[in-house]
Symmetry: C2
Subunit: 634 residues, 2 copies
């Protein structure tokens, strides 16, 4: 036996893809599958199964390929709507049901999980216990059928049909013609049933259980169904087209394991070697293959090889895996770049706009706040990298913020490591804080459960980074600045905008200010408003808020006493581009556009000072944003 094409990473070794000359806007993936179908359609080896008369009626030219992604995209070519019976491809699904309907130890006591190296119709019972070696051989599959829950055989069959229909996303039924053909000729399986009864692997009369097994094998599917069923397993048990769950997630791994070790009969080892995906074949010509987390494939072509596997099915999977590096063991590094970026409180501050002494203090001591922005999947191997990086850099740290915004999944292993990390950091006086925790629903539950009464004290979570940073900054500033308070009130002569005015000039401009008050929560400025006023906060604080493309709201800045806002629209005559909301009871000094304009002629030097201060403030804001942009480096 020789492999026609070596699996190789040299570019030249790969055959070229022909482009379909059909629709120029069709998907290149579909083009590829059409080409693959075209290539293998010409092949004529193998024999249609004849051991059941009904199967022998199949047209050897029927040929379909269906690829389904875990987000529900279906690519299908060829006779993808041609019905055929599922046969042995039913076995992994019924095994999954046996796991759902019994304890795991009950199932394992009756069905093993070792490959046999034997042919598909071998009986392969363990000599001492009579336990079938695995659920992919007929004996193990009949034992699994016997473990499906239901008061009567008809309710059991209904449960099987309902479950298979969830996998396929449409209502499936038994092909009565094939069933009666199977039933008439199935003496070998009846013999197996009695052997299983002899060893007490099945209870009571084995005949109805073998009958149930015949019916399960006679369920009628098409190639599209197989692809979607495979993708449901690739998608942790949820049908990606309908969004409905077909099997509890914790059993998918076990189903794939028995497919991986025993799914292709005595071709299982070579299949894993060459194709590298858990798979199952059936004698009607179907093959289903699963690349967990990535895709499901269904193939249908009736002619079989001597091992009972579809000849074209194997060739298609072989090519497809080779052309696109789909082998299970060809996984890219999981742990690279879990830390998207890191920065500290001296580089990036919260959007609370602060006075000079606070800015100075944060620039000096902000290093004690460390932010890790994470990305991708947080599983054991990536969480390990993160935890290692954090533990290696604890010097002078007081706060560690883990920003989960860009994570895709935070699994229980990561939660476990984070829990340990939290306890260790807390023991040396470092506060661990999580932001964007809506990305990790399991984290909150895990921490509450593990920390119990101490959760309120130890588990810190924020919806966004900005409030988390502000919380840390406030804690830090109250430690470092004697008499620090986050709320204070400046007198107008202390306003930034008026710095550089002579006392006389200040008196003049002060006389032209209006004083306005706003209740907490009220809107001072609305998006789209014409800009008629420049505001200076006298008392309280206000926030500038924009609505992002994603629909979520983002605080751009919070201003406290002495700070001016609303100047941009005044300068460029544009309409307001954000809303400004009173965070507290607020008092503002207001300079109207008319007053501002009138200064040109009345008091040009006042105007020059104000414009210079406004330009200075714009320049400061631009520098802050530019610094952030260079750190975030998008």
């Amino acid at each position: 036996m020789v492999l026609a094409n070596e699996r190789s990473f040299q570019i030249c070794a790969r055959p070229s893809l022909m482009i379909s000359d059909n629709d120029p806007r069709s998907s290149p993936v579909l083009d590829y599958l059409k080409q693959l179908h075209h290539t293998h359609a010409e092949f004529t080896g193998g024999e249609v199964a004849t051991y059941i008369p009904e199967l022998a009626k199949a047209d050897p030219n029927w040929f379909a390929i269906c690829l389904v992604t875990p987000d529900g995209q279906v690519y299908e070519v060829g006779d993808s709507k041609q019905q055929f019976t599922i046969q042995s491809i039913s076995k992994p699904f019924v095994y999954g049901m046996a796991l759902e309907d019994n304890t795991r130890s009950e199932v394992l006591a009756k069905i093993g999980m070792e490959p046999t190296g034997d042919a598909f119709n071998a009986i392969s019972l363990e000599s001492d216990t009579g336990r079938p070696r695995n659920p992919m051989i007929n004996a193990g599959a009949i034992a699994a059928a016997g473990l499906v829950a239901g008061k009567s055989m008809s309710t059991r069959l209904q449960r099987i049909l309902d479950t298979f229909s969830l996998y396929a996303g449409r209502e499936l039924t038994v092909d009565e013609g094939v069933y009666s053909s199977e039933s008439t000729t199935g003496h070998r399986n009846r013999a197996i049933g009695h052997m299983l009864r002899n060893f007490d692997i099945v209870d009571g009369d084995p005949t109805p259980i073998v009958d149930l097994y015949f019916k399960q094998c006679s369920i009628s599917v098409n190639c599209r169904d197989l692809g979607i069923m495979a993708a449901t397993l690739a998608n942790h048990g949820v049908n990606p087209v309908t969004g409905k769950r077909a099997i509890r997630g914790e059993y998918v791994e076990s189903v794939l394991s028995v497919m991986g070790s025993c799914g292709m009969y005595d071709y299982a080892g070579e299949w894993l070697y060459r194709v590298g995906m858990p798979a199952k074949s059936g004698v009607a010509g179907g093959i289903m293959a699963v690349l967990p987390g990535q895709l499901g494939i269904g193939i249908f072509s009736p002619p079989l090889d001597e091992r009972g596997n579809s000849v074209r099915g194997i060739k298609v999977c072989d090519d497809f895996s080779r052309h696109f590096n789909l082998h299970l063991f060809n996984s890219p590094h999981a742990n690279k770049a879990v830390i998207r970026l890191q920065y500290d409180g001296s580089q990036i501050n919260s959007n609370r706009v602060r006075g000079d002494d606070e800015v100075f203090e944060l620039r000096k001591s902000g290093r004690s706040i460390r932010v890790y922005q994470l990305q991708g999947n947080l599983v054991f191997s990536t969480a390990e990298v993160l935890v290692r990086e954090i533990m290696s850099d604890l010097e002078d740290k007081k706060f560690v913020i883990l920003d989960l915004k860009r994570t895709l999944e935070v699994n229980e292993s990561a939660c476990r490591l984070f829990h340990q990390l939290l306890l260790k950091l807390s023991a040396i006086g470092i506060t661990l804080i999580f932001t964007h925790t809506s990305r990790a629903p399991m984290l909150r539950r895990y921490m509450k459960l593990k920390l119990g009464d101490r959760a309120a004290e130890l588990y810190h979570a924020f919806d966004d980074n900005d409030p988390a940073l502000e919380w840390c900054e406030n804690k830090l500033l109250s430690e470092l600045l004697p008499g620090y308070q986050s709320e204070y009130q400046l007198a107008p002569e202390q306003y930034e905008l008026f710095q550089g005015l002579t006392p006389d000039e200040f008196t003049i401009i002060k006389g032209r200010l209006l004083l306005k008050t706003y209740r907490k929560g009220s809107v001072l400025v609305n998006t789209g408003d014409k800009a008629l006023e420049l505001f200076i906060v006298s008392k309280g604080s206000v926030s500038v808020v924009v609505t992002l493309a994603s629909g979520s709201q983002k605080r751009l800045a919070t201003f406290s006493s002495g700070m001016a806002f609303g100047e941009m629209a005044l300068i460029d005559n544009a309409t307001r581009s954000a809303i400004v909301v009173a965070e507290t009871e607020v008092e503002c000094h207001v300079l109207t556009v008319e007053t501002f304009d009138a200064l040109d002629d009345d008091h040009p030097h006042i105007k020059i000072v104000l414009l210079r201060n406004l330009a200075h403030s714009l320049s400061t804001k631009l520098r802050k944003v530019n610094r952030e942009v260079s750190i975030f480096d998008y």
Copy 2:
């Protein structure tokens, strides 16, 4: 046989981790391994192997665990420096060497890849050909040793020792005591050697090959070595500690495949089911397990179960996999969020600062430039999602930019799909452009090879997004604006800074400007310089460039004729924060800080106009950055 703990995703079902009370700054991962070691150290089942007298001398209490990540972090607990012989764990490595030293078909003709379901010392030759069923049984391993290249047995042994040393990252040697013990008692293996000779699976006298096999099994390692060897396989064949390659990447998949299907003898199926990692055990008590792309594990504990696998080794792997969801088939979705964000040329522009009519045109027609910022691994399943997204939104598109900056790996499958995409888009007049192609060295080679003579015309690649965007913008503007040219020269009265001055005022200020010229490539402004001048480009163009934290340079802006720069430092008296470089031969009008300041008293109205225009320009820049920030949403 009953599983002690069900694999389950319910939080409560998991045992708690005890925190080590040692070093408060130790890694939580190490704490966990210590706890795991502590738990299983007490267990006393199993028997030390006695079939070779030397092995019987092992202390049953020896126990070590070593975990190694694909980036070279080593966690080790227990007797991790205790030497023992590698025994059967040598088999996958020697099989890998057989693949390297022969064509694949030569190897496959002599060694199969099917699990046998038989015990570890079964002979298991195929009845017709005499081919050993797989390379993990002794017969297959001896056949593999016979395929290692070398003129003499001593050069072959040296090749084995050298290769094993690369895997372990230190020089390994044969334990002569164990070797002579193996050699004295190894009659069964000699019998196998003669059987293989009988079937022509080995050439010539089998005795020296069996002797080579004894030596390979007698190579002395410790548990740390095993962990690093496993991590080398997890890391596509490169030792993650030394960075040296131990096996060509294309064979790693095959080595892992035979470990996955046959590595644990007749426990292989249950191992895959429960632990879910390719693994190999040896009778001296070692086990090595690999989670591809994620980690390698070595365990050493001499007492064996009846199948010849280390009892504690199995328990440790079982617990570890269960506690941290390490099962191979428990993969998170690969294709989520491959598109980090997308935007078009009406939302984000290149950093070339443009005149109002160009800005207006790009705002109106920029939608025909579409940018996809990608992240993570580009493999088949993620490239499929991207290609699908692009093909679904071709309306009015002229340019599609794929930004690879945040990708981790772009494999050949992705290149294949991109090549097809490029041809399809080009056929309907859409230009496909790649940026940050240094992330994907294979892409360039692939495209050059596949496109041949047409590569120069069809394959467009840029180092960064900014020049790619500018290139697209220039192409678009030359189509849309009659008489558009990217280089032009404005007269001083057209400068933005002077808009709003009366003709008399303009004459005054014009008289106070200096004219300076700069050669292409010269630096006009340097980081850290004191700001003494405001510049207005008269002819040519200049770029503002900052050096990022990563060390790379980023263009912040390019200014053409009529545009002012250097105003920020002038306003806030800070030193220059970026360098400005002449992109072409450049002529600038310069306003010194003295002239600017003198205007306060001489010509206050001119000063007001200039300050307002500068504030307007700062405001425009701030709005541009804020808009980008809201789109990039960091």
